[in-house]
């Protein structure tokens, strides 16, 4: 991490720009004030993607990955020394970028307001190193959300369009070819990304600080109890934009090396708290099937590119999507403080609505998932919309069946109480029983009584309860090979 405390210089579309505004100014507002009005505000809470821009993020040793993020959420001050590309920087009217060309040609824009954001999200997927065109059926097994060119439509799940109905945007995405060798942004991937810059920026008496080490971060948090620690700002940014929350001191944790390791020992897999969900998804590559099932249902690619696993747990929200899965996996948290660290089972972590055992000054350093993993795992998310929605009810399952008998069952619940819950009574109703439809049905009746689901705009308590009641039967039906005739 380099040290550059005073000047907040950010490279936008290859040119250096200087940030000198209030610390609550988000990246979008700053870019627009610098004249980059391509990126738009559609919702100011990371739901619509009209503000999507590309950021040069580290990608292993010596490489850069063009990563699309919602510019409306993170503070601009968090981008000191970073490189950003907006829709204006990808191509011009007379020389369109391939992504722009396909979108323009195929009717991918109507009113055009969401378009620059789609362009950036699509460009990030265009430059994704793992994406490669193959024969027409190369990606057929990946389902209808993948093009023959390797394009994953989930990369656009955080972008809303109110005009087109999406079909022409999909066609544009699936028509993209490989990145040519002489493409400048393509070539940029083979050089290192900008390092994080140690930052101490103040404006109007308010500060944004990016410490260089975990120790420094912990000292700041201990010395200044009002400090707000943020990583991807996907939650904090909403507070700032929608609820007009302001903080005197914001501490950026997202690039701390101590929080960004992923390692596997004989006993557990440890995920650094400041790893983004996308990074974990990519690095694990299916190693933890329950998480592999969860990730595509967790918000959108744009959010997962910024949001960290530590952040999702740090907010203590009862409707975060990782807790039900991590509870089923019997995850533990490593909590770090100035006096050292401690390990807390996730099941003991939540104490009340948005309250946890994490003490002031403590940070989540890592999440540990014990090994071996259970044989049957699933993540059931009940929501109004399939992509990018908040769950009404979420259930994580990790069940081990040996010789037809349930040996262990771990079930995590979200959305049915003030905190995420372990469904221990259901676990007890399953363990030692044969894994049959009757067992599932009997345990489902127990599950239906778990928690204290409420009525709100997402779902009725009655429906939430009904979903608890059907979830285990659905799981059972999914684990047996084919359905039977009614």
């Amino acid at each position: 991490m380099t040290d550059q405390p005073s000047a907040l210089d950010v490279t936008v579309n290859g040119q250096l720009h200087t940030f000198a505004d209030e610390i609550h100014t988000n990246l979008l507002d700053w870019l627009r004030s610098e004249g980059f009005t391509g990126a738009k505000e559609g919702c100011a809470e990371g739901e619509c993607g009209a503000c999507s821009v590309l950021v040069a993020r580290p990608d292993g040793e010596g490489h850069t990955r063009w990563t699309a993020v919602n510019a409306c959420l993170p503070p601009a001050a968090a981008f000191a020394g970073q490189e950003i590309i907006t829709a204006e920087g990808l191509g011009t009217v007379d020389s369109l970028h391939p992504v722009q060309h396909e979108m323009a040609l195929r009717g991918g824009s109507q009113c055009g307001y969401c378009t620059p954001g789609f362009i950036c999200s699509m460009a990030a997927e265009y430059y994704r190193p793992e994406r490669a065109c193959g024969p027409d059926d190369a990606h057929a097994a990946d389902g209808p959300e993948h093009g023959a060119n390797g394009f994953d439509l989930h990369s656009l799940s955080g972008n809303l369009c109110r005009c087109t109905g999406y079909r022409p945007i999909r066609d544009a995405a699936f028509a993209l070819g490989d990145v040519p060798d002489d493409d400048a942004l393509g070539a940029r991937r083979d050089r290192p990304a900008p390092e994080a810059v140690r930052t101490s920026y103040s404006c109007g008496g308010r500060r944004f600080v990016r410490p260089a080490s975990l120790d420094e971060a912990l000292r700041i948090l201990q010395d200044e109890p009002g400090a707000v620690p943020v990583a991807g700002s996907t939650d904090w940014g909403v507070d700032v934009n929608i609820r007009s929350t302001r903080a005197d001191l914001v501490v950026g944790l997202d690039r701390l090396p101590e929080l960004r390791t992923l390692r596997e020992t004989a006993d557990y897999i440890e995920l650094g708290a400041a790893l983004t969900l996308t990074e974990i998804e990519r690095t694990l590559d299916g190693r933890i099937p329950l998480l592999a099932q969860l990730f595509p249902q967790f918000a959108s690619r744009l959010i997962r590119n910024g949001a960290t696993i530590g952040g999702n747990l740090g907010t203590g929200s009862p409707i975060g999507d990782t807790p039900p899965a991590l509870l089923a996996l019997e995850a533990e948290l490593v909590l770090a403080g100035v006096d050292g660290s401690r390990v807390v089972p996730l099941a003991d972590y939540f104490t009340g609505y948005r309250q946890t055992v994490r003490m002031p000054g403590e940070l989540i350093q890592a999440v540990r998932i014990p090994l071996p993993l259970a044989g049957i795992t699933a993540f059931h998310k009940i929501a109004k919309r399939r992509f990018d929605d908040i769950s009404s009810v979420a259930v994580g399952y990790a069940i081990d069946v040996a010789d037809g008998v349930v040996r262990t069952a771990r079930i995590g619940l979200g959305g049915v109480a003030a905190t995420p819950l372990r469904a221990t009574a259901v676990e007890a109703a399953l363990e030692g029983k044969p894994w049959t439809a009757d067992t599932a049905r009997a345990a489902a009746a127990v599950l239906q009584q778990e928690g204290t689901p409420m009525d709100d705009h997402r779902a009725s308590s009655k429906y939430r309860r009904a979903m608890l009641g059907t979830s285990l039967r659905k799981l059972y039906a999914e684990t047996v090979s084919t359905e039977v005739a009614s």
């Binding site: 100011a44 060309h101 109004k384």
Partner: protein, 814 residues
């Protein structure tokens, strides 16, 4: 073929081309109103002071604390209005109200050097309120008799004899939700005053002339002192037809008082909680069929939930009544219409403008009754189509009913519906927990403003000495491709290449007294006007060319920039001809005008011919529903839609697909929830953000999506044989809802009638499945036979918002 509809050889209309601004869109260089703020010097920002009460009187308003907030420049209140304190056309929308009429109603606006300063200033303004009784649910308004505006009745035939000739009579009740526009660009206005006191407003408005009118009456100055420009909108969908005016007026007052540009841009939460939406409706109905499923009589009462002011609710209700028949012949009909006055946002225009709500009532009736009649829903629908010689209930002959039949047959065959129904039956027989269904529904939609006066359009076409052409017209661009079509119309009418023509942003000082770009009529009206202006110029040029080429003017042809005389080899280039004409002192510009002929409408008797023509379409949708959760996917959609002879096929395709998905959003996903409990948040919109009000995303796009334009669809009465396309495709989405109903029904016994709430969220579908599993709805009674009791549907649904109450209640008996 009429002169209006006739195309010359090699026309530019009919060519498939991308949106005229596509290159600007994709490079982020297309400008929207708020993009101008950073390009304008010393702009002030406006922020509202909002009353957080469903209904309350303002008893004290003290702005002085705000003035001590650093950066606050001024607070605007009712005292600052030089003219009329009214943001509407009906004098029932005070711009600065003394009575809060809905939760979040702005009572004052603060101007600040920054948005942050204005926000903090708004927080500092002190306001006292006295709470007043409020009506939030439409059913409460009905009970209280709280109505506003006209109470029309549409009637034809003899309703009593209709029912006595019917052998099967059913009745029911249906309440369904409205819809938020959720244009990606929120409301925005930027005003400044020039050295002559002329107010110039850049506004995201579908109706620049009315924005001008309202600013003029609020400011107490003539219309010629106000100019409104709309560069383009980031979506409109009807939400910017009536609603932008007040914000423009606030900006105008602020700019006049401070001498500085003033910007108002609503953030998403403000936009969601302050701007009007599609009307939710409550309907009660009684319907009679013959033994073979032919509609005999329909008696219904439709109540539109109008919100706090009348706005466009009357014409919306009129269109609902005029579309309750959809594509079906109902010989005896009586429909009463009412507009409830409730303490909610002022509901307004939204793509379809009441038409979708009217049609939904009858489509819901057919979907619910088909199993009780023992008919396949597709067969029931087709049997009742209009035939040649029949007229609508409002007395307008249904021209080209064979096109409805043609669209239907074409989609049945292209979608391979018969074969797929067999496949679905086989699938359902072997899958206990997952069911599929396919539904086909028709659309017949009348084109023209119901109010005859609005059916006029204007244009100004300028040909410069070098032959380049600049067109202005009264329509606004909101993504629908109007400007693209207008460029194509001008190039066709002048016989020049498309590259010769440019288009200027919509401004009230170029084309005056324009109609809203609404009612799908933008192309018909403005295309007619552009064509008219171009033809005036072409006729003058033909005279000049006649002299050059030695043939009579009537034998001059303009094509692709070359002007020829019939029967000679001589030709002259467009540029040369224009140059010659200039030196002959021939006028090279023209104001064009168009009025739709043959329309008349009597709003008292609800009779007349309000529409120039009907647009037809049919859609076949297949869904798959999960019996554990009610979650579903749209597997395949096939559409055949009538756009006449398309002016611009890629644009029309986009309108059809986009309209369909937006309609599917309304009917299945988008869930407006108002807090109707007593307490401090009564009347508050609970789904007031993108995180809680969910639009269709990629996950709602049909996996397979096939669109075809109806063949042989030339329309005599419209420009170059085309038809309007903006609204009608939205209603093709009824096929999604009906497919969901049928798939839910497949979990129950054959013949089960399924009641499905709207929107059909996974939760609503789940309850429909549960109802089907228990044997079907008691929502319908057969005349003379008592209703069955139901066991499957929860008897109380406290969490469901008002908008869904009634759907689960026991409908009225006959």
């Amino acid at each position: 073929m009429s002169e209006l509809s006739q195309r010359p050889a090699n026309p530019v209309v009919g060519e498939s081309m991308p949106h005229e601004a596509a290159r600007l869109h994709v490079t982020g260089t297309a400008l929207y109103t708020d993009d101008l703020v950073g390009r304008t010097h010393a702009v002030l920002h406006a922020y509202p002071v909002r009353g957080e009460h469903a209904h309350a009187r303002v008893t004290r308003l003290d702005t002085t604390p705000a003035m001590s907030v650093p950066g606050v420049v001024r607070v605007l209140t009712a005292d600052d209005v030089p003219g009329v304190n009214d943001a509407g056309t009906r004098h029932d929308e005070p711009l600065f109200p003394s009575e809060v009429m809905y939760y979040g109603h702005p009572v004052a606006w603060v101007l600040g050097e920054t948005l942050e300063a204005a926000r903090l200033g708004a927080q500092a303004v002190e306001v006292d309120y006295t709470d007043l009784p409020s009506l939030v649910r439409v059913t409460d308004a009905i009970e209280a008799g709280s109505y506003q505006g006209a109470q029309p009745t549409l009637e034809r035939g003899d309703i009593d004899s209709g029912f006595s000739s019917a052998t099967k009579v059913f009745s029911g009740e249906f309440e369904f939700a409205g819809q938020e526009h959720f244009y990606l660009e929120t409301h925005c206005s930027l005003a400044h005053v020039d050295e002559n006191g002329q107010i110039f407003i850049q506004s995201s408005t579908q109706h620049p002339t009315e924005t001008q009118d309202i600013v003029s009456h609020v400011m107490g100055i003539p219309a010629n002192a106000v100019t409104v420009q709309c560069l383009r909108m980031g979506g409109g969908f009807g939400g910017k037809e009536m609603q932008p005016h007040g914000y423009a007026a606030i900006a105008a007052i602020g700019a006049t008082l401070t001498g500085r540009p003033v910007r108002i841009r609503l953030n998403r939460t403000q936009d969601l909680t302050m701007s009007g939406k599609r009307h939710g409706f409550h309907a009660t109905w009684k319907v009679g069929f013959s033994d073979d499923g032919l509609l005999q009589a329909l008696d219904a009462t439709l109540v539109a939930d109008g919100g706090w002011s009348i706005d466009l609710s009357e014409p919306v209700l009129a269109r609902a009544l005029c579309h309750i028949d959809n594509a079906y012949w109902v010989p005896n009909i009586r429909v009463h219409g009412r507009i409830a006055k409730t303490h909610k946002t002022s509901q307004t225009a939204f793509r379809g403008f009441g038409g979708p709500q009217g049609m939904l009532v009858l489509e819901d009736i057919l979907g619910r009754c088909a199993p009780l009649l023992g008919l396949d829903p597709m067969e029931l629908r087709r049997r009742n189509f209009y035939a040649e010689g029949q007229a609508t209930p409002y007395g307008m002959p249904v021209r080209h009913p064979e096109r409805m039949e043609a669209a239907w047959s074409q989609v049945m065959s292209s979608a391979d519906v018969d074969r797929r129904q067999q496949e679905i039956a086989a699938f359902n027989a072997t899958h206990a927990d997952t069911k599929r269904a396919i539904a086909v529904t028709p659309v017949k939609f009348g084109i023209s403003f119901n109010l005859t006066a609005f059916n006029q359009g204007g244009a100004l076409v300028l040909v410069y000495k070098d032959g380049s052409v600049l067109i202005n017209h009264g329509g606004t661009e909101m993504g629908q491709g109007l400007h693209t079509k207008m460029l194509q119309v001008a190039a066709t009418a002048l016989g020049v290449p498309l590259s010769t023509v440019r288009l200027a942003p919509t401004r009230t000082d170029k084309v005056a007294n324009t109609s809203a770009t609404a009612a799908s009529s933008g192309t018909d009206l403005n295309g007619g006007a552009v064509k008219n202006a171009c033809e005036q110029i072409r006729e003058r040029l033909a005279v000049v060319a006649s002299g050059l080429l030695g043939v009579p003017p009537r034998d001059i042809r303009f094509e692709a920039g070359i002007v020829r005389g019939l029967g000679t080899d001589a030709e002259v280039s467009w540029e040369e001809l224009v140059n010659k004409a200039y030196f002959q002192r021939v006028q090279l510009s023209a104001a064009g005008f168009y009025r739709t002929e043959g329309l008349h409408w009597d709003a008292t008797t609800f009779q007349g011919e309000p529409f120039k023509y009907f647009a037809y379409g049919a859609a076949a949708t297949e869904v798959e529903v999960d019996g554990f959760t009610g979650a579903y996917t749209t597997r395949r959609v096939d559409i055949v839609h009538d756009v006449g002879d398309s002016l611009s096929p890629l644009i029309d395709l986009g309108q059809i697909e986009g309209g369909f998905v937006q309609g599917a959003g309304w009917l299945t996903l988008e869930d407006l929830r108002w807090d109707d409990r007593d307490g401090p948040t009564r009347g508050r919109l609970s789904t007031q953000a993108a995180s809680t009000y969910k639009l269709p995303s990629f996950s709602e796009m049909p996996v397979e999506f096939n669109i075809a334009l109806l063949d042989k669809a030339h329309e005599e009465g419209a420009v170059y044989g085309s038809k309007a396309v903006g609204e009608p495709p939205l209603m093709l989405a009824f096929s999604v809802r009906e497919a969901l109903r049928q798939a839910a029904g497949a979990f129950g016994p054959v013949g089960a009638s399924v009641n499905l709430a709207s929107p059909a969220t996974p939760e609503a579908v789940y309850w429909a499945i549960e109802e089907a599993r228990a044997g079907g709805s008691n929502g319908l009674v057969i005349e003379g036979i008592p209703a069955k009791s139901t066991t499957s549907v929860p008897d109380t649904k406290p969490m469901l918002p008002n908008a869904e109450r009634g759907q689960y209640g026991v409908p009225t008996g006959v």
